[in-house]
């Protein structure tokens, strides 16, 4: 296949992968390239605007959304390693510009081109990853709310893991929120603690040593709580497993 026929992907890094977990971004790019895409990372990107949007600072979020719309103009596909950022762009950008017709049209256009990475790999690229070193280990999966309910992401990461030979031990209430909720976890820490404890207990009840998910917000929350409780649960983004980016410490773990 000539280079020109490769699907051209603009990669949205997401601020949490950029700052906390670059291996997730590198892994996602690696997977997209292995699946046959030509990947570009526009440098003029920062944050999708979700923190402001969700906490009521809509006017602070709108200019950030405009930057994203501009930075990703022209890409036939925009892919992010996060259900909540992709959900923000797909689901909420058009609402954010409901009263600005010109930007609303551009936001709707971007929404139609935007994908979360596991659903893009399965639904567009029908990609089969190589067998993972996690094969044979007990692994559980947390469904992040935005990806699940705004984008219908449920089977896609499971399909990729199955193709990589990873068997999942499903936990109870995997579709229930982990208590992250953006600024919620800092505004209402007691309720957040209860919710993340429930999540952690359900995960540990499966006997799994590894918890995977598709959104770093949830994973930082779960891993942070696991460390506070001295639990040995290894928390990672699903992309790290699929791209075999497992050499470094898991989220919240120190260097060995």
């Amino acid at each position: 296949m000539s280079r020109d026929h490769k699907p051209h992907v603009g990669f949205f890094v997401s601020c949490l992968a950029d700052l906390f977990r670059p291996s997730v971004a590198f892994g996602a790019i690696e997977l997209l390239e292995a699946a046959g895409c030509q990947v570009e990372v526009p440098e003029a990107q920062t944050c999708c605007g979700q923190p402001g949007y969700n906490s009521g600072a809509v006017d602070d979020a709108r200019p950030l959304a405009q930057r994203v719309i501009e930075a990703f103009a022209g890409f036939p596909y925009v892919v992010a390693p996060s259900g909540s950022c992709a959900g923000m762009i797909k689901h909420h950008y058009p609402k954010l510009f409901a009263e600005y017709p010109e930007w609303h049209a551009r936001a709707t256009d971007l929404a139609q081109r935007t994908w979360e990475v596991t659903s893009f790999l399965v639904e567009v690229m029908d990609y089969a990853p190589t067998v993972s070193p996690l094969q044979g280990r007990k692994v559980t999966y947390h469904d992040s709310c935005a990806g699940l309910r705004e984008l219908g992401i449920k089977q896609q990461p499971r399909k990729l893991l199955e193709r990589a030979g990873v068997e999942l031990a499903e936990m109870q209430a995997t579709e229930v929120c982990c208590g992250f909720g953006g600024t919620f976890c800092a505004k209402m820490p007691d309720l957040s603690e209860k919710m993340v404890d429930d999540k952690l207990n359900n995960a540990l009840d499966t006997g799994a040593g590894v918890l995977l998910g598709g959104d770093l917000g949830c994973l930082l929350n779960i891993a942070g709580r696991a460390r506070r409780r001295d639990s040995q649960l290894e928390v990672r983004h699903v992309v790290e497993v699929l791209a075999d980016e497992l050499a470094g410490p898991a989220i919240g773990e120190g260097e060995r």
Partner: protein
Amino acid sequence: MKQTSEHFQDSARAALARTEARERMDILGLFMPAMRDAAVAEVDFEALREHVKRVKDHTLDNLEHYLRQFEEQVVMNGGHVHWARDAAELNATVLDICRAAEARRVGKGKSMITEETGLTEHLEKAGLLVTETDLGEYIVQIAGEPPSHIVGPAFHKSEQEIRELFLDQHKLGRRQLEDPPAMVAEAREVLRERFLSADVGIIGSNALIAETGQTMLVTNEGNGDLVSTLPRVHIVCASIEKLMPRPEDALAQIRLLARSAIGTAVTAYTSFYSGPRRAEDLDGPEQYHVVLLDNRRTEILGSNYQDMLACMRCGACLTHCPVYIGAGGHAYGWVYPGPMGSVLTPLLTGLEEASELPNACTSCGRCEEVCPAGIPLPDLLRDLRADETRAKITPARWRWGMKLHGWLARMPGLYQALTGTAIAVLSRLGRRSGGFRRLPMAGGWTQVRDFPTPQGDSFMRQWKRRNKEAGNG
């Protein structure tokens, strides 16, 4: 009822500390969704929800027309319609009706509207003996507590708590009340006498039917029928958005309501009340009154929040909400808890008094997913948070924090330089430990969890470096 919504977090913290009650709530949070999901699977939920939503939207868009039609029909059936602008007017109207009928005893069916107006307290202050006849409502009434759930008012109470309450409040001598059936039998015995001696019966309504002037009520205990047919005077208290054009619309709504509320296809009793006893009727009330409450609903009509008026009070959003399950119903500090309450309470009582409630949400979307009225609850809660920001109710440090973030993130070069440096420092400091137990300005986060150490240099720094090397090499 005195509103305590501003203490939401303190109340929630106290509720979380009561281990037994918390465990009961956890069971509720697993059991009720399982029941609901199984019941909803029997019908084409999406199609039904879409249908009922269209009916409801149409009714709300033409509310004045249907209210007029409803009033005409009620009058034609021999009843009276009273209009109450607010809680005080409803309470005064009902008291006037009771006084005119020289009533002393009132039997009540479960009604969230009368909870909203504080009717029971108002009538009791005027010297009337008021008895709640729905078992759950009766339990919270004699316990002196508000309901904790809009469908199951006493969901928060344990079997033992109810046993002790009955043994203490019912002066019936020494007895065991060994199991729930024995307790139900005792409540039935006590309530029977109240039904028979009530001069006035007051109920709520699940739907007001414009075409026929009927009011519809669903119950599982049949208490609604007893307080409607035995006393001399029958009063229905309902808010104006309960209106539906035709009986079949109300029945379509029931198919969703019962399944969403308690996980059954229908409730045990579904009643349509048409008016006072007619000449040829053997029994029934002498007077029939419908008191229609506005209480700020006409302000919601036509606003961004109009969708909220489609709420059928099933309570599915409560038991599906992990925040409600953790905090418990009482923490919300007013009549309506959970996601629907977090939207409705600020709209009905004022944003300032209830400013905590729209923030008691992780935007997880489970409420919207199960809402049989298709209300975009997370969007409405987000809009309320935006209203709080505009009205400067949001604490200044959050508002300025978001402004600063928004300002910085608008300039990729500066943003990447500053965050890149901060992340590089943090990743070096926390490399061995893997996380921070404390960090300045992250107190809410680190109160309950470690702050995971960033992996190393930011992605953007590494990416640019890599591109540069590739370019040079």
